[in-house]
């Protein structure tokens, strides 16, 4: 979810509403656009606003927020018209970019009233669009320039990494593109996007002055916009044409909201000769069916009422008939993919809290998962035997699972991107979690008897997910006289009450003392282990009292039991 920093003074100026730092009022208004104030810096008047909708990049600037809020706040309803003047710049796109970064969009915005605050806001928008909508500049990246320093036409082409040098933003000497990737912070951060190619993208003007090395960095000479800049050139490059055009629109509109006049650019693709005039601010016409709307909302709204609500939400209405509304979707509403997106906006404008909830009686029968009853019985029994139930994480690490348990490593489900070293894989047995638990409670009164009924995850090539989860049950007892007899007795009582005949078979297990450990057998199948924990394991966990434990595959036991009954 993007969080944007909004200068409240600027929002007030654009909206004509005064908040006077009333965050609750702001929060209430932001609910219309799924926004929430996360933080308000009263001194600087900056509100950090979280926009839940990741598909509404038009809301990621103060200009965009004001554009949409004005409808909901009753300041100005309907579609806000934006016009694009004639094309003033030609851009040619090299066909060799096709496999690198094929698309380009460009616009010139003249007579913009910029201030340091406005520029800060613009940079913030550019950053959010690059990061989120542009997927860390992979999909799209934006460049802003002082248009007065540029001599069109522009060429978007490729060059060898060492062929061109220019002064990148924030530097004082010129570097080659290869050097930029090595030395410039942005080159280091985003270099991987272009590094695999033999040639790199570059944008130059007709005097061969470099505008930028997309998606890495602008030129220090041309690519710096200040409060004195009047005419701004915006360019967006990227890998998905639609996203490039949308991004360009969002930036150009923010500048237009600052009093600028937008002029087009003509982008010519050398590969196929295709000419695209950018940006395109035209609305799209979507027919919204009245029945369809009411069927989703459970309301009985007339076409006229729906049209009114859509105007509140900032849409245009071209036509209203009994069955449908011709909706003009503004060019910046890139989230509208389906008529259902309009239906939600109708509901938001209507007010969720004005819709009466209804509990529909449906002939459904509730039930828990089939094994749930016996799982609960198992827990009851362990509680009755005096064991405290604990809950631990499924995520753990090989040291816990194997090393400290004196076991050989086996394959477990490891994650490729662990966040912390203690959580790198899913557990394949429960006992280590219980040992860890005991280890954290050495100062707590003994005897300590605990159990956990939890999932273990095992690799299983035959399954869709190449793994299977099973419900296992483990219990430990620890005190100065804890031993095999006590735990075997508990297990025996458990099985007797659970209605399962079991046998114990001699076995060896590296976590347990030889001669004090047994395999738990049910119907000739091994389903677990019971024994006295090996002192070396106690040492590894820094435990000073003996521990006796059992761990059983409850899932197998329950299946076995249910099979026998059926």
């Amino acid at each position: 979810m993007p969080t944007i920093d909004v200068d409240l003074g600027e929002l007030e100026k654009l909206l004509g509403v005064v908040y006077r730092g009333d965050v609750e009022k702001l929060d209430a208004d932001l609910a219309f656009v799924k926004g929430e104030v996360k933080l308000y810096n009263r001194q600087e008047g900056i509100a950090s606003i979280e926009i839940k909708d990741t598909n509404r990049p038009d809301l990621w600037s103060v200009e965009g927020l004001a554009r949409v809020l004005r409808g909901y706040l009753g300041i100005a309803k309907g579609l806000k018209e934006y016009v694009v003047g004639e094309s003033v710049v030609d851009v040619s796109v090299d066909s060799r970019l096709r496999t690198i970064r094929p698309f380009m969009g460009c616009a010139v915005v003249k007579n913009v009233a910029l201030s340091d605050t406005v520029i800060r806001g613009l940079m913030h928008l550019q950053d959010k669009l690059d990061q989120t909508y542009g997927r860390n500049r992979q999909k799209t990246s934006i460049g802003l320039y002082d248009y007065s320093l540029i001599v069109p036409p522009l060429s978007y082409k490729v060059v060898k990494p060492e062929a061109v040098r220019f002064v990148p933003l924030g530097f004082s000497e010129s570097l080659s593109l290869a050097e930029i990737l090595e030395q410039h912070p942005k080159g280091i951060e985003y270099g991987s996007i272009v590094k695999s190619h033999e040639v790199y993208p570059i944008i130059m003007d007709s005097h061969n002055k470099v505008l930028s090395f997309p998606p890495i960095i602008n030129s220090n000479d041309l690519g710096r916009v200040t409060a004195e800049t009047r005419d701004v050139l915006v360019e967006v490059t990227g890998t998905v044409h639609e996203t490039v055009l949308n991004t360009l629109k969002l930036v150009a509109l923010a500048l237009a909201d600052r009093g600028g006049r937008v002029f087009a650019a003509t982008v010519r693709y050398e590969s196929d000769g295709l000419k695209v005039v950018t940006p395109d601010f035209r609305s799209r016409l979507v027919e919204l069916n009245v029945d369809y709307t009411n069927k989703i909302l459970g309301l009985r709204l007339s076409a006229k009422r729906i049209a009114e609500l859509l105007l509140t939400a900032g849409f245009g209405v071209e036509s209203v008939s009994v069955e449908s509304v011709g909706v003009l979707v503004p060019c910046y509403r890139v989230d509208v993919m389906h008529p259902v997106d309009l239906v939600e906006d109708v509901a938001v404008a209507y007010g969720y809290n004005n819709i009466a909830p209804v509990w529909r009686e449906l002939p459904t029968t509730g039930c828990v998962k089939p094994e749930q009853r016996l799982l609960d019985v198992a827990r009851e029994l362990l509680v009755g035997l005096g064991f405290q139930e604990v809950l631990t994480y499924n995520l753990t690490n090989p040291e816990t699972l194997f090393d400290r348990m004196n076991c050989e490593k086996t394959r477990v489900v490891e994650v490729a991107n662990p966040k912390v070293v203690t959580m790198t894989c899913l557990r394949n047995w429960l006992l280590p979690s219980l040992m860890e638990f005991l280890s954290s409670n050495q100062s707590v009164e003994f005897p300590q008897r605990i159990f956990e009924l939890g999932k273990v995850t095992l690799l299983d090539e035959s399954k869709e997910t190449k793994t299977r989860d099973e419900d296992w049950l483990a219990a430990v007892t620890s005190h100065s006289a804890a031993g095999f007899t006590e735990i075997k007795s508990a297990l025996d009582t458990f099985f007797m009450n659970f209605g399962v005949n079991w046998q114990i078979r001699e076995t060896v297990h590296p976590s347990f003392i030889e001669g004090r450990v047994g395999a738990v057998m049910v119907n000739g199948v091994e389903v677990g282990v019971v024994g006295e924990v090996y002192p070396g394991v106690l040492e590894a966990w820094k435990l000073e009292n003996p521990v006796a434990a059992f761990e059983i595959n409850l899932e197998k036991i329950i299946k076995n039991k249910q099979g026998k009954l059926g």
């Binding site: 609910a31 799924k34 839940k52 909708d53 990741t54 998905v240 639609e242 989703i296 909302l297 459970g298 309301l299 993919m337 389906h338 259902v340 239906v343 939600e344 938001v348 969720y352 809290n353 819709i355 909830p357 209804v358 509990w359 529909r360 449906l362 459904t364 509730g366 039930c367 828990v368 998962k369 749930q372 827990r379 509680v383 035997l385 405290q388 139930e389 604990v390 809950l391 631990t392 994480y393 995520l395 394959r411 489900v413 490891e414 994650v415 490729a416 991107n417 662990p418 966040k419 912390v420 899913l426 409670n441 707590v444 300590q448 690799l459 399954k463 869709e464 997910t465 190449k466 793994t467």
Partner: protein, 508 residues
């Protein structure tokens, strides 16, 4: 006539034997009762005016473990100086320390004190230590007060300041600063027998007192011959720790039962899931930020699962992502990779179970489903974040469902599960639902709490999975509800490793 219990009787006799007065320690040694038992008896005797108790404030000295060590081996500076003397009166510090057999942690201490006591002179340039008085390597440096005190203390169990000679007392501060001994105030109690006490002590007990009633006493009927001793029923007793269910799991059980009562059927799934069910089938584009390694755990090996069983659905989902397929949507206009859909992940939400249920041939109509699923996110664990937690989610499937029904489901949950007095709805966002609603519940004493998120599945979700009717999807913020009820503000408490907390946690 004054009645005496066995313990009291014994203490009076002991006092008599000691000549009328004795310290508590002496009585413990004589009677063989624990400290508390002697004190209990003494207090009762005092109430009966049989003894007097005098308290005297004393300062008790005790060696620390390091102090004990030095008492046994000699102070480190003494050991160092001896070694230097043996090496001819001057030596390299390291050599001297080695010769002295000094533990590494005491080397600098030894040097420091040897200099401070003016026993030695140190030249840092050459790392040489030399005995200060050139003759001294022949003469034995006399034992000083601190060393004498160490020896004195180590020879005795308990020592109070009063037991020391003025010379030894002067060394207490030094050793205390060196953390070789601890000084604790202690009250020393003395008992003195009164006349009445003397009288009672000499009187013969007429009948034996019975403390523990034994099977033997019952069977033989001997209990009739004795007197059953009265206990001090106010005396504190040891805690009994029972087995209990985990409070959070009990809470989930309660939620589970409520959902069943409301007609919901439980769904289950696995910790490891394919990206297809976790994301793609839920119309989350393949380049969505929620799929970044910073937001979802990927399985290292094997990397891919098997979704070949769902060939048709996968094709439809692919087309929907790319161009909207028959859903009436524009789609994401992005290229869709089936290989990417096969990626194995640790499920990031329980909604993947709903997607599986919708695709299942067993899907009933109408129906209500729920799941309680452990889910995983690559978060650093803190007060408000867990890397794995439980989600309670579900769906309602019926031909005639509307947004009003969705609000009705949420209101029902708020009242039945959270016990809320009022509810409030706000627009929300999920990639897979439209419209989407956030539920806030109000409960007296708790205020407004966000309690759930929900929506109607987008047609881009239901149609490719072969479902033609509206589906309400909902999720509940049960962790927050539990925390509120349990009065905890740290989410880590849910997976608490604190046995004491679990033992003391009230269940009612």
């Amino acid at each position: 006539m004054v009645e005496l219990r066995a313990h009291e009787q014994k203490i009076l006799s002991a006092l008599e034997k000691f000549g009328g007065t004795a310290t508590v320690e002496e009585l413990i040694a004589e009677c063989g009762f624990p400290d508390a038992a002697v004190m209990r008896a003494a207090l009762t005797l005092k109430e009966k005016d049989l003894v007097k108790i005098y308290a005297e404030q004393q300062t008790q000295l005790r060696l620390t473990s390091e102090g004990e060590h030095h008492a046994k081996n000699g102070l480190p500076e003494r050991r160092l100086i001896k070694a230097i003397a043996a090496l001819g009166g001057a030596a390299n510090l390291n050599q001297a320390a080695e010769k002295a057999g000094l533990e590494p942690q005491f080397k600098q201490i030894a040097l420091g004190w040897a200099i401070r006591k003016k026993w030695a002179i140190y030249d840092s340039a050459t790392n040489t230590v030399r005995i200060a008085d050139p003759r001294l390597h022949q003469v034995v440096i006399p034992e000083e007060n601190d060393e004498a005190l160490l020896t004195f203390l180590s020879a005795r169990q308990q020592t109070t300041l009063g037991d020391l000679t003025p010379e030894l007392q002067s060394a207490v501060e030094t050793l205390k600063k060196r953390k070789l001994l601890t000084v604790e105030p202690k009250t020393k109690r003395k008992l003195e027998i009164t006349h009445a006490g003397l009288h009672a002590a000499t009187r013969r007990a007429t009948a034996a007192e019975i403390t523990q009633l034994t099977p033997e006493l019952i069977i033989t009927g001997k209990w009739r011959n004795g007197k059953l001793q009265k206990y001090n029923i106010q005396a504190p007793v040891a805690k009994t720790w029972p087995g209990k269910k985990h409070p959070y799991l009990s809470f989930l059980e309660e939620v589970r039962m409520k959902l069943v009562q409301l007609g919901f059927k439980e769904m289950t799934g696995t910790n490891v899931e394919t990206a297809f069910f976790n994301f793609d089938a839920l119309y989350t584009p393949q380049d969505h930020p929620a799929r970044e390694p910073s937001d979802i755990y990927y399985v290292k090996s094997p990397v891919y699962g098997d979704i070949s069983k769902y060939k048709t659905a996968v094709e439809h989902v692919k087309e929907t992502h790319e161009n909207g397929w028959k859903t009436g949507s524009t789609g994401w206009h992005s290229t869709y990779s089936i290989r990417e859909a096969e990626r194995l992940i640790l499920r990031g939400h329980g909604t993947c179970l709903s997607a599986r249920t919708l695709l299942s041939k067993d899907l009933e109509l109408p129906s209500r489903y729920f799941s309680i699923a452990r889910v995983y996110r690559p978060e650093v664990i803190d007060k408000t974040h867990l890397s794995e937690f439980n989600q309670v989610e579900g769906i309602v499937v019926d031909e005639h469902l509307t947004l009003r029904d969705l609000l009705g489901v949420l209101e029902k949950f708020a009242r039945e599960i959270a016990g809320a007095d009022k509810v409030r709805f706000k627009p929300d966002y999920f990639p897979f639902t439209e419209p989407s609603v956030e539920l806030s519940a109000y409960k007296e004493g708790y205020g407004w709490v966000e309690f759930g998120g929900s929506g109607i599945f987008r047609p881009e979700v239901t149609l490719p999975l072969g479902v033609q009717v509206p589906v309400i999807a909902w999720g509940l913020g049960v962790d927050r509800l539990f925390m509120m009820r349990a009065g905890i503000d740290d989410i880590r408490c849910i997976f608490s490793q604190d046995l004491d907390w679990l033992r003391r946690k009230q269940v009612a």
